[in-house]
Amino acid sequence: MADLRCPMCGKSNPPQSEVCQYCQARLKPLVAPPSTENEPEPSSDSEDLFPAKDDALPNWLDGLRENDEPRTESQEEQADEDGVETWSSEEEQRLSSAFTFSSEEASDTDEDWLARLTGDQEHQPEDQAPLQDEPAESSASAAFLDIDEVAGDESSSEWLAEFQTSSLGLEETSETSLPSDDQGEEVVTEGDRPHWLDLIRSQQQKESELTAPMSSQDEDLEGNQIWGDKPVDKEGESDWLSDIGMEEGEGELTIDSKDLPDWLVESGAFRPESPVESEQAFPGWLAESDLPEDEPAPEAGEDLPDWIAASPAAGSGEINKPRQDLPDWLSNVSEQEVDQSGLPEPVESGEGEDFSAEEEGGLPDWLTKLDATAGEQTPGRGVPALILDEDEEAFAAPGVDELETQTDEDISTVPDWLTQVAAQEDVVEGAAPLDGEAEPDLATAQLPSWLQAMRPVESAAPSAPAAKEKDKVVEKVGPLAGLAGVLPAEPEFVHLSKPKSSLVKLQVTDNQQTHITLLENLLAEEGQAKPVPARSAITSQYFLRLLIALVVFISVIAPLWLNRQLLPLPEPAGVSTEVYDFSQTLAGLPSGAPILVAFDYEPSFSGELEALAAATVAEAVGRGAQLVMISTNPTGPLLAERLMTTRMADVNPGYVNLGYIPGGAAGLLAFAQTPRDLNPFDLQGTRVWEVAPLASVNSVSDFALVMVLTENPDTARSWIEQVQPALGAAGKPMLMVLSAQAEPMVRPYYETNPKQVNGMISGLAGGAAFESISGMEGVARLYWDAFGTGLVIAAALMLLGGIASLVLALISKPDTSEGKGAL
């Protein structure tokens, strides 16, 4: 037969396996439990083999009490409609032979029903092939209910018929009733399968899932196989009975307990003393299945079947130890070899198979272990429902204690088996760290094999312990304060802190450091006042200055004092054009024409310009012009007066001194437009505009000539810009008498076309040239020798100084180079 492949892990399993040997996953689907809606009420005529139906008893057991309750057709149909798996006739025969009770036996006591069962088994035909078509369930308990393998027998058929009509509430019909023992083998078809059998099977299947590890445990204990998958032969002798060690003549089980059969009690599956809770879904023996961890595994005996020998419990050898208190049938179970080919090998686990082999009052070892474990455990002290960390315990200590107290006190609310199983699971999970480090304060639990078999693969493999709660951040604010591993109540950015100042070391070279030091010293010295060294009043430069002054003074004074006129005036043919034009302009003045003379020079330049002014004014006066003097300088009128009173005294020409024009260029513009309004009086306060020469003058253009005497180029420009347009429109000339320093700035106005300045005389040289052309000897001639001598001496001094400087420089350079070379 082909192997079964596990749908979970994909590994091959024997065909008879119900559960995968590797991952414990079911290979075959479970049968749907039959509905209990049509469950018949217990018949009043049922044999009183069993005590009154009690809620503590499973339904199948209750069904044993009822017999001669034929199953009605409706019930059978209902059972079929519910999808109850139909049985073969052979299976029903076996079951019926196993569970059939005759009417005569109905009156027997409860103690005899099991004897009849064992007797029926003995009469089972030997050649009755065990039904092995159906795959055996993993648990031996499920085999008991595997009605497909139950061989039919007459005696058992009656008993089986009783089962059919008992607790399930099925009325036996003449057609479907199971034959009694006297009637022999009853052929039970699949459609005639009693419903109660289905219920029994389904219930046992459920129990087998829970008690699957226990199956091996049970088997290990003297080879007793309470729930077995062993098929029952045709004679009605159920293998399950043989598995549990029922021999001929034996099997008189006395039911001592009030509510439970004795064989169950004696086998240790049930403890009458153990508190059976109404709400408990599992028997007590299952609740006490936890074993101490220190109990060594029993050694496997030679006569033990393989599946028992494979279990560690069998290795302890305790299985073969006879027990005194156990019935013979139970004690002989170990001697019989059970065909466990269909049973899966129990999953070996290090802890679950650790069965204790201690003897304790004749009870099986596994029972004693259970007792010991139960006794060791603190009554009412199960695994706490909540495992808290230190911090959490500090926070939730009162509540946790209370919870634990309540947990300890309210045992009735939580079944022991559940707490114990949960405790075992917790212990198992945390008891096998990868690094092998075991927490010293927690004891490693020993899981039973059946529980270990239920464990998934990933949980079976030792895994690393969970992260310690200590490593997690404990919350300090909010309602979750004190708990660890929770999301922070405050975002991380709330806890802002000053960023760490990182010390940045700038790599500075030695040269840079030197420069830095130098700069720092300079900056430090900047704020400090340096002491001014005392300077001597007489130095070498002082004498040089005195010398130069003396030389220049002598060069100038001597010609004046000597009045030799050694230097000739410029030739008239060699004079400059501007001087010539100036002269020509003046020569073209009509007689008696008013000319405007502007004395716009400073008193400091009076020595140079008075020499020029004297010549030009004298020339103009000589031409018959009437002088009108004005000035844009506050000292101008006085200069005019000075000139007229000192230089022109002998001439004594008539002149009008209009005084000062304020406002600079604006005043000139105003004067140029309305001279009468701007200067209505002269310096004496006389109204001159009504008398000659100003009587005919209404604007500046009415003047025959405008002559400006100035040393400032800006003043000359202002006159040219403000007054000359009016003059030019009228064709009146403008002459300039300038200092030598202003000539370059005024010459462009002279060299324009049309000329804005008709003529100009610049400096003493121009004056001398004008006097040369005019043929007069004025101040210029007087100053000409001194002027020439002074210029030559000054030039000579400069030349000598320059030469001396060059020589000194040339001499000092070779000395410096020699000094550097010496160094």
């Binding site: 040089l544 200055r545 130069i548 220049v552 050694l566 230097l567 000739p568 060699g574 400059s576 400073e602 008193p603 400091s604 330049f605 009076s606 020595g607 506050p634 000292t635 009128p637 006085l638 200069l639 007066e641 000075r642 009173t645 000192t646 024009i661 304020p662 406002g663 600079g664 604006a666 005043g667 513009l669 105003a670 437009q673 309305t674 309004d677 701007l678 310096l683 004496q684 420009r717 000539e743 010459r747 462009p748 040289a765 000409w784 002027f787 020439g788 002074g790 210029l791 030559v792 000054a794 030039a795 001094l797 400069m798 030349l799 100084g801 320059g802 400087s805 060059l806 000194l808 420089a809």
Partner: protein, 205 residues
Amino acid sequence: MRTPISTAVAILVGLLILLGYFIPLEPLLSLRVMLLQWAVILAAFALLVGVVNLFRVHWIKVKTGQPAGFYSFVLIVALGLTLAIVGYYGPTSAPSVWIFSYIQVPVESSLMALLTIVLAYAGVRLLHRRLNALSIVFLLTVLVVLLGTAPLLFIGEAPVLNLIRDLIVQIPAVAGARGLLLGIALGAIATGLRILMGADRPYGG
């Protein structure tokens, strides 16, 4: 409040004066002359205010005994005497002219004469202070101009020097002067426009 009014007055007056140059209208010319006369009057009054301020400053120096108080006293005395004499005798009177001729003119002329000695000494020490090509060129130029201006003692005029002097004065000097004049003219135009647009407010607005 004061700033917008002064700015508006300045702009208005400037525009009127400028328009007078381009639009020869009689009312505009009359307005222009009137505004110019007002400017002249204001300028004269500003000169008077300056004199008063000068007197006040030096008076404070004299009164507070500052280090240069003596000179301030001399100034105040001179101012007072001049004002008194000229006011009494007249500006063209002999005393006034004498004060001017024998005090003011010599003082200022003497300061100008010292400039001659200083320039001569600077010329002598020019190459000693800064010996480079430009300094040498400058010194030679000065020498040529000085020697070409007047005839040489015991030599007379030097035609070459006169020619070189004329060339230097009339060509490079005038060229530079022209550039300056053009710059001045353009600056004056820009300044005038800025004042007319109110960008510059030299009148304190």
